[in-house]
């Protein structure tokens, strides 16, 4: 197996699915000759031509609206939003229209599209190149929301998303693009949407996380292992539909839960996980459910000290784990 980084995994998934199905096409800003600002689509215009790798005008609402219209005709568009921070002009098309199209036509309209969204901070992106946008999609029935953390998961889930007949918001954490590497099998594989993955088995505390934070959680779990704290790390991978069973099974085993995400704490994915566990696994809990999340400021600021203050990191997770263990 070859070792690849996350952006290479994205590109492999796109290329394979475009080769497999002529209905799959890519559209977005700079996705053609430039290959996307992160090079996710590098080389694809040479292989598939301008009609399947479309450089659009710089206008996100129409990127999403046009993708939706093309999906109505049976195409499988993959619109790319260059940075999650630029998704807001497309929100009506995404949440108002796309999420409601199947329901609002009583199932007559299929929406087989995947919007790829590079997101997240820790890269000195400031307020408009760092945003976490997942909670608003997580909240929205009609959408599926996927946020993988490893090259293996991102490739397998992106391929599943492209083949799915419902609209998918596919979140790719920018900091993982070149930082995170992993083995990719040579052959064809997919990963089912809606299945969390226990990335580290443990007995004492469950951590639920996703995206970049998953890697910090694994480091923190390793760091406290020498102290006799045995941590289980659940990677959600898919946020919506949520794999409740994997989360509940883990908490029923460990009795303690720490939720870690980079997105703002209030109304985030963690709040829903906490409610789920309180509702369905209350009698198994040995302590309070705790969250270590991004604080309630608009986004991580630009200056290094301010960004560090915002970002959850391995040290902060280690401290939170010790606190949970001591309870």
């Amino acid at each position: 197996m070859a070792v690849k980084n996350v952006i290479e995994a994205v590109r492999e998934a796109l290329r394979e699915e475009m080769q497999r199905d002529p209905k799959v096409f890519i559209m977005g800003e700079d996705v053609g000759k430039r290959g996307g600002v992160f090079l996710a689509t590098q080389g694809l215009i040479d292989e598939f031509g301008e009609s399947r790798v479309i450089d659009t005008p710089l206008a996100e609402a129409s990127i999403m609206g046009i993708a939706l219209g093309a999906a109505f005709r049976g195409m499988r568009p993959i619109p790319e939003v260059q940075f999650s921070d630029f998704i807001w002009p497309a929100m009506n098309q995404l949440i108002g229209e796309t999420a409601r199209a199947c329901y609002g036509s009583n199932g007559v309209l299929q929406v087989p599209l995947v919007i790829r969204v590079p997101y997240g901070g820790g890269i000195r992106g400031g307020l408009f190149h760092s945003q976490n946008v997942e909670s608003i999609f997580f909240h929205t029935p009609g959408l599926k929301v996927i946020a993988p953390a490893t090259p293996y998961d991102i490739k397998g889930l992106l391929k599943s998303a492209i083949r799915d007949n419902s609209p998918v918001v596919f979140l790719e954490h920018k900091k993982t693009y070149r930082l995170v590497r992993g083995e990719l099998p040579e052959g064809e594989y997919t990963i089912p949407i809606g299945q969390a993955d226990v990335k580290r088995a443990g007995e004492h505390i469950t951590i639920v996380s996703y995206g970049l934070m998953l890697h910090y959680c694994l480091e923190a779990a390793e760091a406290v292992a020498g102290e006799g704290i045995d941590v289980e790390v659940v990677d959600l991978r898919t946020l919506r539909p949520l794999d409740k069973e994997t989360v509940l099974n883990s908490v029923k085993k460990t009795g303690k839960l720490l939720i870690v995400h980079e997105d703002n704490v209030t109304g985030g994915v963690g709040a829903e996980i906490a409610a789920l566990v309180a509702d369905e696994a209350f009698e198994y809990l040995d302590g309070p459910i705790r969250r270590l999340c991004g604080p309630d400021v608009p986004t991580m600021p630009f200056a290094q000290t301010l960004e560090d203050e915002y970002m959850p990191n391995t040290d902060k997770i280690v401290q939170a784990l010790r606190k949970q263990a001591a309870y």
Binding site: A59, A71, F72, R73, Q93, E97, C102, G107
Partner: protein, 349 residues
């Protein structure tokens, strides 16, 4: 094109003889039979439109947006699309006439307005006739005006990618023309020469806001120049002109790219059943609009040209009333959707 008076003397023959026979002054492809058929549809649409308002006041129809004043624009352009046979439509909320004449029965329309089981667009999940009627090549997902324009462009783009020569017609009002997505849709369509026709049914009011508070220009069609494609202003109260303009636009769109058609119409009724237009329009202005009523004027013209007799016109109206009475009774007696179906089809199944 200017329409000439028919050479046929008034009352020189019955309508049966005239059907399918092109008469002088009619645009290409249009027969007197088409005129009679479209007039019959117009009467049916007008009759149901009036009935819906009455049913609203009786508490049986929660909400309705009237198309009164828009019938010639909607049915004229629809006929061009139907004769072409390779068109797909993205209408907007005021296109009752278009959606009905596209192939729905009066009962289906009544089921829509009463929110009953069997409603054809969404099984009554949405406002009347909103969702998708793929049998008649129509999609309208939402009430967010302007949002359908980019979707229509995407649909047309997909048709071209599939080597299918379908032309997409997307309809919107003067209010929607202010939306950012109207600009984005037209810009993309111009850049990529997408086979789409933008049809603005300009009734000069967005609820209460008049055109001069919506745009600084007298017309919308001139905007097309800025997007690199042609735009035309059409008298939207004139059925044959709307037909002809759309027919030519379809040919242009298929071979050369987008067209903007601005059909200038009148809104004869308030915005919806929840509106009172006398709060912002004068009776004098409305009286002048009523004089331009496209349905009664079309009927008078068909009679004047000898295409139908006054008796035939009365017969058409009587048949429409009978059909709408039957549809009202049928929809009134129809069942409501089962509450358990609320959970279905959030995602593709």
């Amino acid at each position: 094109m200017p329409r000439k008076k028919s050479a046929r003397p008034k009352g020189s023959g019955d309508a049966e003889v005239a059907i399918a026979e092109p008469i002088e002054g009619l645009p290409e492809g249009l027969t007197t039979g088409d005129l009679v058929e479209s007039y019959t549809q117009m009467i049916l649409v007008r009759t149901i439109d009036e009935r819906i308002w009455a049913l609203n006041r009786q508490g049986k129809v929660p909400i309705a947006a009237s198309c009164q004043g828009h019938e010639a624009a909607q049915l004229g352009s629809l006929l061009a699309a139907q004769k072409d046979g390779r068109c797909f439509l993205f209408p907007y909320y005021r296109d009752l006439g278009l959606k009905m004449a596209a192939g729905l029965t009066p009962t289906q329309v009544m089921l829509s307005f009463m929110g009953k089981e069997g409603e054809p667009y969404s099984n009554a999940r949405q406002f009347p006739m909103q969702g998708a009627d793929l049998e008649h090549n129509i999609i309208q997902i939402s009430n967010v005006v302007g949002a359908g324009l980019t979707q229509a462009v995407g649909y047309a783009l997909a048709c071209r990618m599939q080597d299918d020569d379908t032309v997409v017609l997307t309809y919107f009002g003067d209010g929607a023309s202010s939306q950012g997505e109207a600009h984005e849709a037209m810009n993309f369509a111009g850049v990529h020469r997408v086979p789409v026709i933008f049809i603005c049914e300009n009734n000069h009011y967005a609820i209460s806001v008049p055109q001069h508070r919506q745009m600084a220009t007298d017309d919308l069609a001139s905007r097309a120049q800025g997007y690199g494609f042609p735009g035309f202003t059409v008298d939207g109260m004139d059925f044959t002109r709307c037909y002809e303009a759309t027919r030519e636009a379809i040919t242009h769109a298929r071979t050369q790219g987008p067209v903007l058609l601005e059909m200038q119409v009148e809104r004869l009724m308030p915005h919806t059943t929840d509106d009172d237009h006398l709060r912002y329009r004068t009776q004098e202005e409305l009286d002048a609009a009523y004089e331009r009523d496209p349905v009664s004027n079309f009927g008078a013209e068909l009679i004047a040209r000898g295409i139908i007799t006054p008796e035939k016109s009365d017969e058409i109206k009587a048949e429409a009333l009978k059909a709408i009475n039957e549809a009202t009774d049928a929809a009134d007696a129809a069942t409501l959707p089962d509450p358990s179906t609320m959970w279905d089809r959030v995602y593709s199944e």
